[in-house]
Symmetry: C2
Subunit: 166 residues, 2 copies
Amino acid sequence: MSKSTGLNAIEMQCLRQSFGLTVAQVASITNTTEEAVNAWESGETEAPVPVQKKLLEIDDIIEMQVLNTTDGIEELFKKEPKRRLAFVVYPTQAVYNMYNPEFLSSLPLTELYNTAAWRIKKECKLVLEVDVSLVPLDAEAYKAYRADNGLSESRESRAKWAATQL
Amino acid sequence: MSKSTGLNAIEMQCLRQSFGLTVAQVASITNTTEEAVNAWESGETEAPVPVQKKLLEIDDIIEMQVLNTTDGIEELFKKEPKRRLAFVVYPTQAVYNMYNPEFLSSLPLTELYNTAAWRIKKECKLVLEVDVSLVPLDAEAYKAYRADNGLSESRESRAKWAATQL
């Protein structure tokens, strides 16, 4: 998305909703208030340029994540028959903070990661004809699975656990 | 999206949020209750297959709308220099019902049309490098514009009015 063309009220609202975020959540990640967000979305005031940039950057990060992950999945299926895939998501902010901290600076809320995951699911279906299921991490079940299989905590172990949930 | 693979709780929520719809709105377009929608999204019950199909069909309709409109805009700019474009959206359900009735059967809520418009804006920027602005129809201003210019009501007249708002 352009960084030079300003977003109007309806566009600010569409952008927030496309992320699956509430007004309060957008206020929080842009360091402002719910009143301010409501004012942008009703056209009372214009959203400050740095806020617009920040939100458009998040959209870019999500789209990049979608591209990279879809490319990775395409690579994975070059020699294998296509099958269902599990993609781990995080049911609460606390679980997201604990298990996915490397994303906190770019996608600070678990809802933003869910949005990326949903777009990945759509893209994989459309472009690769691969079914991706979003699997919320069940921290207790995952710990038990690791103990049973002698696995340490890692992205790979989470993916293995998630595959057992399909 | 697949019609054979069922959507789980988090996926039902992601799908609703990707449309920019509230729980009440999804209940309304799927002829069910808010309690039922909340139950699908919390994993208490599974969303009925016809409901999943209906919502995935709406997503397909939106994506088709995005493809067709983006193709149309690409065609438009084959011989002209690229410029900013206005895309009319409808600020309330009443205005949507009055001016855009041909979409009511496929995209019954104005928010769904907004979602399509937002995705068109993104796609045009990314693929065509064309800036599209979403312009909410101001029914009074549009009527005055038509009177001033001797135009009858049509999609084309709306587009002409919207272009004056850029």
